[in-house]
Amino acid sequence: MTTGDPAATGDPRTTGGPAATAPRAPEALGGPGGALLAPPVNQALGELLLAMADDEFVIGYWDSEWTGIAPVLEEDVAFASLAQDEIGHAQALYQLLADLEGGDPDELAYGRAPEGYRHARLLDHPRTDWAFSVARRFLYDTADAARLDALAASAYQPLAGVVAKMRREEAYHLLHMHAWVERLATGGQEPRARLVAAMERLWPDALCVLDGIEGDDLLAEAGVLAEPMAAVRRRWLAGLAPELARLGLPAPPAAQTGACRGPGRSDDFRWLWEQFTMVRRSDPEAVW
C-alpha cells in the first residue's frame, strides 16, 4: 500500500482542530440498544480493532524493555507506567474484538504467529538508544492521539466508551514525550543529533500508524470513524508541523511506500515475540 499525500500544508487552525464530526448524526451501533453492523463494516471494524490493539501491545512490550535501564530512575518509573497503560489499552481493545468476532482476548494477544500481528511497521524496530525510543514514542503517541480524536464520537458505542478512557490517559503520554523531545532537541549537540537521526529514520514508518486499515472509508461512512485514515493523517501532520518547525526537527516525507502492517516482519519483532510469548508457549493450557 502506498500513501499518497500527507500534505501537511493545511492551515492548522482549521485542519488541526477537533476531528470533524460525520455530516449526519450516525445511527448508534453495537452495545445495548445499538443497531447491528453491516457485514463489510463489521469486517473493517475488526481490522481497525486488531491494528490498534497490536500497535498498543507491541509498543508496550518494546517500552517495557527499558525497565531497570532507563537514563534516570524517574524515567524507569515513567516508561514502565507508559508500557503498563499501553498493554492495558491493548487488553481492552482485544476484548472489544473478541466481543465483536468471538474468540479469547488472551489467545488474540499471545496465540498468533509473528506474521499474524497487524501493528504498524514503526513498531518493528527495537528500542535502540534513548533518543530513538523517545522519537518513536513521540511520533506514535501524536499519531495515536489523532486516531483517538477521530474515534471519540464513534457510532460504535463499545469503542467510544473505551476511547473516552484512553484519551484521558494518553494526555499524560503526550505531555511526557513532548517534554522529552524538547529536552533532547535543545539539550546540546549529541542529544539533538541522535534525535534528528532517529526521526529521519522513523518518519516513513511513522506514517504507517495511520494507514493500512482495509475499509476505513466504510467505517467513516458508518460513523465509526469521523473520517478516513488519510484525513486523520493530514490532521495529525498539520497539528505537529508548527512544533517540528519550532524545534527545527525533520518534517515528514511526502509519501511512504511498502506494506504498512505486515505480514513481513523484522527479526527484531520476531525476537520480541519470542520474549512475550515465552511463558505462554511453555504451557499453553495453564490456568492463571
Partner: protein, 166 residues
C-alpha cells in the same frame, strides 16, 4: 426478613477500601456507577479508574465479597459505559486523601472536546498536602501506580504524590 434497600447497599460499598490507597473507599473514589435491586438480583456496575489498572479484578472481587449474601444473586461488573474521571472523587474522598499525604487531583473537566494534541501545553500543578503551599514542582508525571504523579514542595521540602487529574 429485613427488606434490602439501596441505602444499605451503598453503606456496604462505603466499607470496601481501594486496594492501592486503602484510606479511601470505592464510594469515595466514585467508582460505583449503578446499584440495581430487582427482586432476588442485586447488580452493581463499577467504573475502571485506569484501563490498565491491575487492581480492577481485585476491586471487583472485594465488592462481590462484601455484598455476598445481601441478595439471592449478586452481580458485580466493570463497565466503560461512562468514563470514570477524577472529578467523581467525593469531597470526603479529597479530605481523606489530603489527610494521608496525597494531594487530591485538580479539576479534570470534560476533556473531550479539544484535540488530544493540545494537551502538550498542559502544566499540572498541585498544592502540598503537608503544608498547604502552592510553591511546588512537578518531579514526574508518573508514580508508583498509574493513578499517581510525583511532586516536590519547595516550602516544606518534602516529596508528595498527587492523584492524577484524568
Amino acid at each position: 426478613m429485613k427488606v434490602l434497600t439501596r441505602e444499605a447497599v451503598w453503606e456496604a460499598l462505603a466499607e470496601v477500601p481501594d486496594p492501592e490507597i486503602p484510606v479511601v473507599s470505592v464510594v469515595d473514589l466514585g467508582l460505583v456507577h449503578t446499584v440495581e435491586l430487582d427482586g432476588e438480583l442485586l447488580r452493581v456496575e463499577l467504573l475502571p479508574t485506569f484501563v490498565g489498572c491491575p487492581a480492577l479484578e481485585l476491586i471487583r472481587r472485594s465488592v462481590t465479597d462484601r455484598l455476598a449474601g445481601m441478595a439471592q444473586r449478586v452481580e458485580v461488573e466493570m463497565t466503560f459505559a461512562v468514563p470514570w474521571t477524577s472529578d467523581r472523587i467525593t469531597p470526603d474522598g479529597h479530605r481523606k486523601l489530603r489527610q494521608s499525604g496525597f494531594a487530591p487531583p485538580g479539576p479534570a473537566g470534560a476533556g473531550d472536546a479539544r484535540p488530544l494534541f493540545a494537551t502538550i501545553a498542559m502544566r499540572p500543578t498541585a498544592t502540598c498536602p503537608w503544608c498547604g503551599s502552592a510553591d511546588t514542582t512537578l518531579e514526574n508525571l508518573f508514580g508508583p501506580t498509574l493513578c499517581r504523579t510525583m511532586f516536590w514542595c519547595n516550602r516544606c521540602r518534602q516529596p508528595f504524590e498527587q492523584f492524577k487529574a484524568v
